[in-house]
């Protein structure tokens, strides 16, 4: 019963007005990304004849734009590999996507902290390119592809100019950032946002935006609260001695243990954030925590099974080992340099 109470308490502690507001803004931003950001503008870089350097670079950051919904990660991965830029950029995309979407970043920054937030983003981006390149070098020859440029031409542009869209998205992002640091700036930006909504959008688009935001919130918020609840239980059930003895330092073993745990555990979208936070409260060192956050969202046992259907057992095993080992190394390096 005490353990249950710890879970409930952790949910109550989490919900502050400040956090609720920034999460609301983050959901609206994600809704706007799904609804108004042209995916065609990004996908064209993954075609079979695309510039390979650009394909890797864009794959490493495009998760922020393309993968608000996890149901599009695997089809995109499979298509990029088979019809487009090939296994390297496809793997880069597969790995980076879930780690750097807007909601994951906002949750990490507001709950765990700015330093781990940055390590998570930068670590995931660099690692995704490294892993993509290694997979390309090892396996490109054995790949059977069937390129199809048409699949990467998607016309989903809207009736706003590039400048208008850029202004709209930077205003939303600005509100999110300013909310913590400068409430006055935030208020000015909110006014600016409403002017833009009035000038650039029609009623139906605004309604679609609301629906998209609501759909996301409805799907993610319950899972997130389950995560916060479990985090409270973990904090009550695991002893500090145990946590400290396993991952309380920045050794290779501690980082490797954390990244393997992250890879095998199934974290429903974004629940990894509160759980890592409670590990930290119990004495986990920040290096292993970063390793867990980097390896965690991209891999889980159910998702390994799906990936192996696309890639085959051998390539999947290579991919998983690369993720686990390299995430541990990133955690180790971050532990030395940053924390």
């Amino acid at each position: 019963m005490d353990i249950f109470r710890a879970g409930v308490q952790s949910v109550i502690d989490y919900v502050t007005v400040n956090r609720a507001i920034s999460l609301t803004i983050a959901f609206f931003l994600s809704g706007a990304i799904t609804e108004f950001l042209s995916q065609g503008a990004v996908l064209k870089y993954f075609g079979p004849k695309s510039n390979k350097v650009l394909a890797y670079l864009i794959a490493s950051v495009s998760g922020a734009i393309l993968t608000v919904c996890s149901c599009s990660v695997l089809p995109m991965f499979a298509s990029i590999r088979k019809k487009g830029a090939g296994i390297g950029p496809a793997v880069t995309f597969l790995f980076a996507g879930p780690s750097i979407n807007v909601l994951a970043i906002v949750f990490t920054f507001t709950l765990v902290g700015v330093d781990i937030g940055f390590v998570r983003i930068i670590g995931a981006v660099i690692l995704s390119i490294v892993i993509g390149l290694i997979m390309f070098v090892l396996y490109n020859k054995s790949e059977e592809t069937d390129s199809d440029s048409k699949a990467f031409v998607i016309d989903d542009s809207n009736n706003r100019t590039f400048i208008q869209n850029a202004l709209y998205f930077s205003t939303l992002l600005g509100i999110l950032v300013a909310h913590y640091w400068h409430p006055m700036t935030r208020n000015i930006l909110v006014v600016l946002l409403f002017i833009q909504l009035y000038a650039f959008f029609d009623k139906e688009e605004l309604l679609d935006w609301g629906v998209a935001t609501w759909d996301l919130a409805k799907r993610i918020i319950p899972l997130f609260f389950i995560g916060v609840f479990l985090a409270g239980i973990i904090e009550a059930a695991i002893s500090q001695e145990l946590m400290a003895s396993l991952v309380g330092n920045n050794s290779y073993a501690a980082n490797l243990l954390a990244s393997s745990f992250g890879a095998l555990m199934y974290f429903a979208t974004l629940t990894e954030v509160p759980i890592v936070n409670s590990f930290l409260a119990l004495g986990m060192f920040k290096g292993p925590a970063s390793a867990l956050l980097i390896a965690g969202p991209s891999l889980s046992i159910p998702n390994m099974i799906v990936i192996s259907k696309v890639l085959g057992i051998k390539k999947t095993a290579t991919y998983i080992s690369l993720v686990v080992v390299l995430a541990a190394i990133v955690g180790k390096i971050a532990g030395i340099l940053v924390f």
């Binding site: 149901c71 599009s72 089809p75 995109m76 998607i154 696309v310």
Partner: protein, 77 residues
């Protein structure tokens, strides 16, 4: 006519299947309605975002659940 709903089984994919099923029934259209759930088969169609709808092997809609009217329009063509 062969109509395929492409999707790995997410919520929207089930919704799309239900909408198409209803449109066929309400309008008395004779068609073969199939689910394509294997990720490799979906990639064969070059579909990036699920759910998607294919009519006679040609992809006509990607990444959203349309209204019943839109579905009817797409099928008629």
């Amino acid at each position: 006519m062969r109509i395929e709903v492409l999707g790995t089984g997410c919520r929207k994919c089930k919704k799309l299947y239900a909408v198409v099923e209803k449109v066929l029934k309400d309008n008395g259209i004779e068609a073969e309605l199939l689910k394509v759930e294997d990720i490799n088969d979906i990639a064969e169609y070059g579909v990036m975002k699920t759910p998607a709808l294919a009519v006679n092997g040609e992809v006509v809609l990607v990444g959203k659940v349309p209204s019943a009217d839109e579905v009817l329009e797409l099928i008629k063509k």
